[in-house]
Point group: C2
Chain length 157, copies 2
DNA sequence: TCAATTTATTTGTATTGACAACTATTGTCT
DNA sequence: AGACAATAGTTGTCAATACAAATAAATTGA
């Protein structure tokens, strides 16, 4: 038990779910912090790195696709793209087929940067998850699947 | 596998750790969103509710203690207390023994609000984690412990 | 055809968070 | 006592996020 709660106004099982969220918050911010520190040498945050990587890999190339891929609101992604475009790492352009859509493309500068940044981030990630067995990772995926299901979030496959 | 990555510039095991962070981000924001929606009727966000609950339970009663308890920077907690104080839910006062310290105390209004809000939040939390077995929860705690350890974060017991 | 709806994106506003710099107070060491 | 370090807290600045409202373009249906 990572946290001991002293005065329990509520039942232990209720405490345990609150602790669950605390645990998730801790691990999330620890992972983000580690990646942020590693990518600072490139002038990137970890979230910016992920978006650039999505573009480089062709996983998504419009604001909506990028937002869905990362589970964010489109407006948040729009601001993220503002920041990355301002740094000269990507370009937005209206598509001709459907003039509602915006196509996001890395600039040469963005491509060069992400080629250097991804291996660094990958090393951090591998190190962070070292010692976590495949069985444990599968359990984590199952937990996430169940909780998202309970909250009405459909998770793709 | 919740996400299928198409063009893999990197090895599968590296992908899996990136996906791990995506999963954690999804479940975190889903939990926060559910609690935010449930507490909106009280004019509270889920994070504000947690801080009020910490105070009500006596788990922490200075900015530093509250920040440590929630794994946040003290400056973030200071702003959080600004917002809660502005709403009239708590009061800050310098302590006499050590005039560097600030004591945080709920107002009657804050106490009344949190008494109504906590059962609602607890129901949401129990619902969110329904179907996750004690064994799975223990595995989650183990994973968090390992990852925090890998990243050099000492976790209390 | 054309009005209503849906889709894609941006912008306004607010919350949350980190880091750095600052003030104020307390503790330590010589 | 006095200098220096450690502790507690706030404030400035910026990134990241959500929600609501607005705009513009495409689709649908009568």
């Amino acid at each position: 038990m990572l946290l001991r709660l002293r005065h329990s106004l509520y039942k232990p099982d209720v405490d345990s779910v609150f602790v669950g969220r605390l645990l998730l918050g801790r691990i999330m911010s620890a992972l983000l912090e580690a990646h942020d520190k590693a990518l600072a040498q490139f002038g990137l945050t970890s979230r910016q790195g992920i978006v650039l990587m999505n573009c480089a890999r062709g996983e998504a190339n419009t604001p909506v696709e990028l937002a869905v891929f990362n589970g964010l609101d489109v407006s948040s992604m729009s601001r993220m793209l503002d920041r990355l475009e301002k740094k000269g790492l990507l370009r937005r352009s209206r598509t001709d087929k459907d003039r509602r859509k915006v196509t996001v493309q890395l600039t040469p500068k963005g491509r060069a940067l992400i080629r250097k940044a991804v291996p660094v981030a990958a090393r951090v990630a591998v190190h962070a998850w070292r010692g976590v067995s495949e069985r444990e990772r599968q359990t984590l995926r199952n937990i996430v699947h169940k909780v998202l299901g309970n909250l009405g979030h459909v998770s793709k496959s």
